[in-house]
Amino acid sequence: MQSTGGIIVKLNPEMHLSEKIFSKPEMIPSRYGYGEGLVELGEKRNDVVVLGADLTASVCANWFQEKFPERFFQLGIAEQNMTNVAAGLSLVGKIPFVSTYGVFSTGRAWDQIRTTICYAKLNVKIGSAHGGISVGPDGATHQALEDIALMRVLPNMTVVVPSDSIESRKATVAVAEKIIGPAMVRFGREKVPVITTEKTPFELGKAQVLVEGKDVSIIACGAEVYYSLLAAKKLEEEGISVEVINLHTIKPIDKKTIIASAKKTGAVVTAEEHQVMAGMGSSVAEVLVQNYPVHMQFVGIQNRFGGSGNPDELMNEFNLTEKAIINAVKKVLDLKKN
């Protein structure tokens, strides 16, 4: 329970979320969690190797490289080769992490991931760095807005989109230790609020109900989880009871939690820093339409490419902040009423 100016936001105590979410949360890029996760894995086991494509420091894979130089492989600006070199390393018993920007790791090397890695269910982990529009000034070419869609359509692939740096670290470790097979972990460039804590439970494939509510469910992933919590707080002030779910694992999807929440609230808003077409929201829609159809609204990139700007400006411009989520909630509640 957290007091916020007289209004009570009922954070699920089992989730052990940060106490500073609504005051002054710590700001850390989620990519730091990837870097820390790699180092943690490197210390724990000898079979983890990391591959870089000339963006090693940018995705924090240099932390692993500095500690375990003999287990780091630089492949240069050649993502297709790097991805299949990783496949080869997995075939001689290694657990390789391919580390570069998501536009390249999941886009440029898509056929390599599809035909060599996923078809044979090889144990290769794909780091999708610089996910989302918050990449900022580099603009559209470097903002991965399709990576969830590209990866989730592939059989055997696990897709994880952590919400902050702590969860990124846990996810990075988990995809190596809990899954034998391909997995993608997405993380961002910019500082984002730390909303979870060391104590927050993390299990691949298990969505987290962060706030329990009864009028509407907001299902979010990545940086949108924080904005969903902000939206929930403001909506509570208006007397709307909001459930907030962190769907960090998009594939395999936690049908049970999604269906249970839809049954309870009867209306769902999804929020993701990704194209709404074929992304996380579409995954949720696939589950609900076949099991328990309810009205839905999708917050995300609406069939546009990104652009240059400061991350905050872009999040506003592309309707990805709590304001957009609140609007979507109001709309879905109208639909539910009528």
Binding site: E70, G88, L91, G93, D111
Partner: protein, 273 residues
């Protein structure tokens, strides 16, 4: 397995393999005879003389690895695998059939002994490099072999791979190029010029060996030279004839991916006696 050192015995095996290829593709009703026939000597040399492998224990830890990057010539691979004991020869007839272990392109999850599933051209050499890097990191002596087609060299990824193997000085890696000069749309040099091919590999810091890919003793000798290289990765550019052994298929791009009918099959088998 025990290696066959007699060149004559190996040559006899190439005839068996060529007959298998023709029969399999005839029964399947589709497949790729041209490149399968051109690479028959390379496959026989690999599976009966060169590779350290154990057909009874396909996952034997000390085995050499073979990656067939040009996955479409798997009829030749299936033939040498069956003839060396990985699975019954009778099973060759199931090529490309529903639920067969002998998929149209090699599937490691279906058929033990296939090191990696392939089919999308240009990817195998990179996989072989990953294997070679990993084995070297573990201080293993096993070698990694990878066969590519010449048409496949159009793929940009091949040259990313060639660059990285030279960079990492992978002398535990031996690539083979089946240089049969034809691809689906015609002569390789018309479709996309590859020459000077040898110079390209040399300039990427590879040890380059050329041989007549239909002279068994030359092929065996090329492997010996490759294994003596202490610093660089080696590539054997094997000069071959597409459709080799069947007169009406030889040097015809049209036989890249076409199944012989009953009459053509009989004529081909007669020639291969």
């Amino acid at each position: 397995m025990n290696k066959i050192t007699s060149v004559n015995e190996l040559i006899d095996l190439t005839k068996t393999v060529r007959k298998d290829i023709v029969e399999m593709i005839h029964i399947a009703g589709s497949g790729h005879p041209g490149g399968s026939l051109s690479s028959a000597e390379l496959f026989v040399a690999l599976y009966f003389n060169e590779l350290n492998h154990n057909p009874e224990n396909p996952l034997w830890s000390e085995r050499d690895r073979f990656v067939l990057s040009k996955g479409h010539v798997c009829p030749a691979l299936y033939s040498v695998m069956a003839r060396s004991g990985y699975f019954p020869v009778e099973e060759l007839k199931t090529l490309r059939k529903l639920n067969s272990r002998l998929q149209g392109h090699p599937d490691m999850r279906k058929l033990p002994g296939i090191e990696v599933s392939t089919g999308s051209l240009g990817q195998g050499l990179s996989v072989a490099i990953g294997m070679a890097l990993g084995l070297r990191a573990d201080k293993k002596e096993n070698r990694v072999y990878c066969m590519l087609g010449d048409g496949e060299l159009n793929e940009g990824q091949v040259w990313e791979a060639v660059m990285s193997a030279g960079h990492y000085k992978l002398n535990n890696l031996i690539a083979l190029v089946d240089r049969n000069n034809l691809q689906i749309d015609g002569v390789t040099e018309d479709v996309m010029q590859l020459e000077p091919l040898k110079d390209k590999w040399i300039s990427f810091n590879w040890n380059v060996i050329e041989c007549n890919g239909h002279e068994m003793s030359e092929v065996l000798n090329a492997f010996e030279k490759a294994k003596k290289e202490k610093v660089k990765p080696s590539v054997i550019i094997a000069h071959t004839v597409k459709g080799k052994g069947v007169s009406f298929m030889e040097d015809k791009a049209g036989w890249h991916g076409k199944s012989p009918n009953e009459e053509e099959k009989c004529k081909a088998l007669e020639e291969l006696l």
